[in-house]
């Protein structure tokens, strides 16, 4: 594999095959990821097998810089899970003590996940956990008072594409980026297998008012998953 070492953003770095984020809470590891010191900066390894966003950054054929939000901006993360990706996003978007002034609105339906996110938000200011059903936009809309430049949706349930279109129409700022991590196994059974489901999703997205930029195959990191990169027109 080619060596693409270099900075992807303020707090995201690629070194050889690995991705690293600038640890906002020095010395603290979320799982058992590696830490690496580089002068006054501590880098925390970002496992592409545990995070689909990291996998997409490695696999994209375009500029990976376009896939992550600007430090200090607001990100909407729908289907936040236990907070692995959120923590790395926070490293980049907020930094230590949120000196960038970024916000991550983390929506999840599961109280078990929200529990972990509440704990995470205690150590990392800038994370707003929201317990809500992603399909009911009014449930989390009060926490997203303005359109946001960056959205990631990873809900792993049927109807992800239509939900993504609704979320983007309501919350995505002009020229913002939205990522849809589509899980084939969650969509209804159809002829033609996973490939057909991804193609169908692609058609639905192209026929909406959104612009489909890239389709990133995450196979090898996360099977049966594709990351769609969407832009608002």
């Amino acid at each position: 594999m080619a060596d693409d070492s270099g900075k992807i953003g303020w707090g995201v770095q690629r070194r050889g095959r690995g991705l690293w984020t600038r640890n906002a809470v020095k010395g603290v590891r979320l799982r058992d990821e590696n830490l690496r010191r580089d002068g006054r900066i501590e880098w925390r390894s970002w496992n592409p097998r545990a995070s689909k966003l990291a996998a997409a950054l490695i696999r994209t054929k375009r500029d990976p810089t376009l896939l992550i939000p600007e430090p200090g901006s607001t990100a909407l993360y729908v289907g936040a899970g236990h907070g692995t990706t959120i923590s790395h996003l926070h490293d980049h978007l907020c930094g230590s003590d949120n000196h960038h002034g970024g916000r991550i609105v983390a929506v999840d339906l599961s109280p078990r996940c929200i529990r972990d996110l509440i704990r995470l938000s205690g150590a990392r200011s800038g994370i707003s956990p929201v317990l809500a059903d992603a399909r009911r936009l009014d449930q989390f809309a009060p926490f997203v008072p303005e359109r946001v430049p960056w959205i990631l949706q990873d809900v792993s349930q049927a109807g992800q594409v239509d939900l993504m279109i609704r979320i983007c129409e309501r919350f995505l700022a002009p020229s913002g980026v939205a990522l849809l991590s589509l899980k084939a196994a969650s969509e209804r059974w159809s002829d033609g297998g996973d490939e057909a489901k991804f193609t169908q999703a692609e058609e639905r997205l192209t026929s909406s008012n959104l612009q489909l930029n890239e389709r990133i195959d995450l196979r090898g990191f996360e099977d049966q998953h594709v990351m769609f990169v969407i832009r608002a027109d």
Binding site: R103, I114, I118, D138, P142, F143, P145, W189
Partner: protein, 333 residues
């Protein structure tokens, strides 16, 4: 004219987007109060400001969705919003323990796991004791062996209790302690299963009374858990209810065209498992249909089914049985 509001203010806006009137929350802003107000907005309830405007303009249309032109949030308001999100997330987390479906889920799974370990422990003890006591009938005495071994103070005591002669080889003292310990664990485990089942029963009889009346509280709870909660079970078609628990056979049917399963866990109902083989499919279809109705009654707050409704269904089941007294001829088609 439209009435819009968020937790900070309410506005009446006309069709051209001109602000007709405005009411701003001017109380002391604490994160707790902000959380309360956001909860009102989420439930589409009016804030005091919205109510105030509504009284002045009773003819407005509602819309809680913020229009594009809305006062931007100050950084102080943003930070209140972030604090409120954590308060609301905590409240939601606390409320989740009030969800009977989640509580039944733990109980039902706990019973499943305990049953698995109980069967292995029980059969281990029976074979273990049987190794020494060659004179006893392992099938007839099966139930006794474990309880008696658990209650015995020594191996000799066990011999007396089971009324059998001294064997050629006896376990060593240490071995006996291990046997007795394993038996006590098995007995204790069966007690714990009963405790958990009692808890399931009480939950099922209040949460899913009609379904419990039809299927028995334990089976009703198991099916509700398999469907991921009462609300979801009530939305499933009865054809799915019929094969809940037979997913392996069902998807094998879709993949390979093998015969579809006739019943899933609903088979545990004696109306089906105690019926002749050739009517089980018909009866399970009937019972699954009634089960879907029952759970919908429970989900939507209907009057719970009693003996009368269940007796009527049992008559229908009887009718199916008597209509097909003999297995169908195999020479059809």
């Amino acid at each position: 004219m439209h009435l819009h509001w968020d937790w900070r203010l309410a506005r009446v806006v006309d069709a051209e987007g001109i602000i007709i009137d405005e009411s701003v929350w001017d109380g002391v802003r604490s994160s707790g109060l902000v959380a309360d107000r956001i909860e009102m907005v989420r439930r589409k309830r009016m804030t005091p400001e919205a109510r105030d405007l509504f009284e002045r303009f009773p003819e407005v249309d509602f819309s809680s969705i913020n229009p594009e032109i809305w006062p931007p949030f100050t950084s102080e308001e943003m930070s209140l919003l972030d604090q409120a999100s954590i308060i609301l997330a905590r409240r939601g987390l606390e409320e989740s323990a009030g969800d009977v479906d989640r509580r039944m889920e733990h109980l039902v799974h706990a019973v499943e796991e305990m049953r698995i370990s109980w069967t292995t422990m029980e059969s281990r003890v029976v074979e273990w004791v049987g190794l020494f006591l060659t004179g006893i009938d392992l099938d007839e005495q099966r139930r006794n062996i474990v309880t008696e071994a658990a209650a015995s103070s020594s191996f000799e005591d066990l011999l007396q209790r089971l009324e059998t002669d001294s064997p050629q080889h006896s376990p060593t003292n240490e071995e006996w302690v291990a046997i007795q310990g394993a038996s006590s664990s098995a007995v204790e485990m069966s007690g714990r299963i009963k405790d958990a089942e009692l808890a399931i029963r009480t939950h099922a009889e209040s949460h899913i009374p009609s379904l419990s009346a039809l299927l028995g509280p334990l089976l009703a709870a198991r099916m509700t858990v398999a469907a991921h909660g009462r609300a979801r079970l009530s939305r499933l078609p009865s054809s799915t209810v019929q094969v809940l628990g037979a997913e392996k056979a069902f998807f094998a049917h879709l993949r390979t065209g093998s015969p579809p399963p006739k019943h899933g866990m609903i088979f545990q109902h004696p109306w089906i498992s105690r019926s002749p083989r050739w009517v089980r499919g018909k009866i399970s279809r009937l019972v699954a249909g009634k089960a879907s109705i029952a759970v919908r009654v429970d989900e939507h707050g209907g009057k719970a089914w009693g003996d009368e409704e269940i007796a009527a269904i049992e008559r229908a089941v009887q009718a199916v049985r008597s209509r097909h007294p003999k297995p169908p001829s195999k020479r059809r088609r």
